[in-house]
């Protein structure tokens, strides 16, 4: 019996194993500039079910370095779930997930937990509810992972954290606790926190959805700034204008998976599919 067949016996539960599964890495693309690049992350034929409910089926997606990918769609079509499957906060039901050239998930088989912890650092996440650590100051929120997970000395990590807060325009509030910050400020701290791990990409899960309209601007501006600096970003959002402004690639999801994807001009300006058209005209 092959290991894949064995894995299926265990159903949807992923098995953690010591050795990463032997699967050929994604094809390395030759770009026009002559530089060979592997995608930062890639999913192939990803399917996710919660019990009997299928969230999406057969989704394939490449996240290339330096690009901004936005994922659009109604609430509840699995956009966030797809994002969470990318860094395996949520385990897919089947399919494959690659980080760089490493296969971290293959049809129910996952790399060992220890390797997974390391792999996750390559993709940091910004959450809808910010999820800042409530008992730590802004600057400690940013410095915690570098100190604890990467083992950096506290002094330099905190100094780096201060410059990151400076970068998102909030270093004056570095000693404030999350409860003392506005939603927009909290989300900018969360972005600085995501940057602190020097990730290959940042995943944004509806970063402005829980913010008052007047606070969204500052967060979107920070994200635009990151995009212009060449940060690889995957953004689940409802902000069509933001998507139009910064995306290199737009993915539209509806019930069951990806309906349409392509550059902004295609998906947002002249969508091919009827459902995409409806979605865009309703916003």
């Amino acid at each position: 019996m092959s290991w894949r067949a064995t894995a299926r016996l265990f159903g949807a539960k992923a098995q953690f194993q010591r050795e990463p599964p032997a699967v050929p890495p994604p094809v390395v693309l030759e770009r026009s500039v002559g530089r060979s690049v592997a995608p930062v992350a890639e999913v192939r034929n990803l399917t996710k079910r919660f019990g009997a409910t299928e969230v999406f089926r057969d989704v394939s997606l490449r996240i290339e370095g330096g690009k901004v990918v936005t994922i659009l769609g109604r609430s509840g079509v699995g956009k966030s779930t797809l994002l969470r499957c990318l860094n395996l906060l949520e385990l897919p039901t089947s399919g494959q997930v690659f980080l760089r050239t490493k296969c971290v998930y293959d049809n129910g088989l996952c790399i060992s937990r220890k390797d997974l912890i390391g792999a996750r650092r390559q993709l940091s996440m910004v959450f809808q509810q910010f999820n800042l650590f409530q008992h730590l100051t802004a600057v400690e929120n940013v410095a915690l992972a570098p100190i604890v997970a990467l083992g950096e000395p506290a002094g330099s990590a905190i100094e780096a954290a201060r410059s990151l807060l400076d970068h998102v325009g909030i270093s004056a509030r570095m000693l404030a606790y999350p409860s003392q910050l506005s939603g927009g400020e909290q989300q900018r701290v969360a972005i600085a926190r995501a940057l602190a791990l020097r990730p290959a990409a940042i995943l944004f899960d509806e970063p402005t959805s829980s913010l008052d309209p007047e606070l969204r601007g500052e967060v979107l501006a920070t994200m635009k700034q990151l995009a212009s600096e060449g940060m690889t970003m995957v953004v689940v959002t409802h902000e069509l204008k933001f998507a139009a402004d910064v995306s290199d690639w737009v993915v539209f999801m509806d019930d069951g998976g990806v309906v349409e994807e392509g550059p902004v001009e295609q998906v947002l300006v002249s969508p091919v599919r009827e459902r995409t058209r409806q979605f865009i005209s309703s916003h």
Binding site: R121, N131, L136, A149, I158, L197
Partner: protein, 240 residues
């Protein structure tokens, strides 16, 4: 010294020993109950259903039977199966078992009060499960559990008085001894009650003070104190 018609000077020694014994019972039982409570709370928040149920069953069985029953079972009951425990051991053990289940519930509340988002954020940043527990969940859970755990300490001090039933030689037992000599139950027990009050009131006030003091990010560990000091120094340099 004569107070309420009783000459207390001849009982100083006994009362002193009783107080000491009460404090000993409290200290040993509280530390034990906290350790047991931590185990119970961790058990009740485990993924494995069998562990969760076992811890849950323990809590329900212990909590729904009077403490006095457990004291009697351990002290008077066990000798019939050949296990003879001293008053101190049996008493402490009963208190640990009983308060361990309550404190376990308080701790569980604290752990579950820390939102799933906090743990998720820790994981998404590449902290291991243990690191997430140590640096993110525990510091917040401890603050949430502080009030309940403190109340349990005050409750425990008072509950040691039940050990009078097995001649625990703590404060209440001393009261009984003095009463049996002086026949002044009202006066003696009022004074004993006042002594319990003098033990409990400052304790509960200290707990309230701690609660207010640790409410916001006050560092709980030396490591965090160090981080905060670095951050404060950086900020004052930056604004100069």
């Amino acid at each position: 010294m004569t107070l309420l018609g009783v000459d207390w000077s001849q009982y100083y020694g006994g009362i002193g020993l009783g107080l000491l014994r009460t404090v000993e019972f409290t200290a040993v039982s509280y530390v034990g109950a906290i350790l047991l409570g931590a185990v119970v709370a961790i058990g009740r928040t485990q993924k494995i259903a069998a562990v969760r149920r076992l811890a849950g069953a323990y809590v329900e069985v212990v909590k729904n039977v009077p403490l006095l029953t457990w004291i009697f079972v351990l002290y008077f009951g066990l000798p019939s199966v050949g296990i003879r425990l001293s008053g101190f051991i049996a008493g402490s053990l009963a208190l640990i078992l009983f308060y361990g289940s309550y404190i376990g519930e308080v701790f569980r509340g604290g752990l579950q009060g820390v939102g799933a988002g906090q743990r998720e954020a820790a994981h998404s940043m590449g902290l291991s499960s243990w690191q997430g527990y140590r640096y993110v969940v525990l510091p917040q859970a401890l603050r949430l559990a502080l009030a309940g755990t403190g109340t349990m300490l005050v409750d425990l001090i008072k509950a040691t008085s039940l050990l009078v039933t097995i001649a625990g030689r703590e404060l209440m037992t001393q009261g009984q001894v003095i009463t049996s000599v002086t026949f002044k139950a009202l006066q003696v027990y009022l004074v004993i009650g006042a002594l319990y009050f003098l033990l409990c009131y400052p304790t509960s006030q200290s707990v309230l003070w701690l609660e207010r003091h640790l409410g916001r990010g006050q560092p709980l560990s030396l490591k965090r104190r160090h981080w905060l000091a670095i951050a404060r120094a950086l900020q004052s340099n930056g604004t100069r």
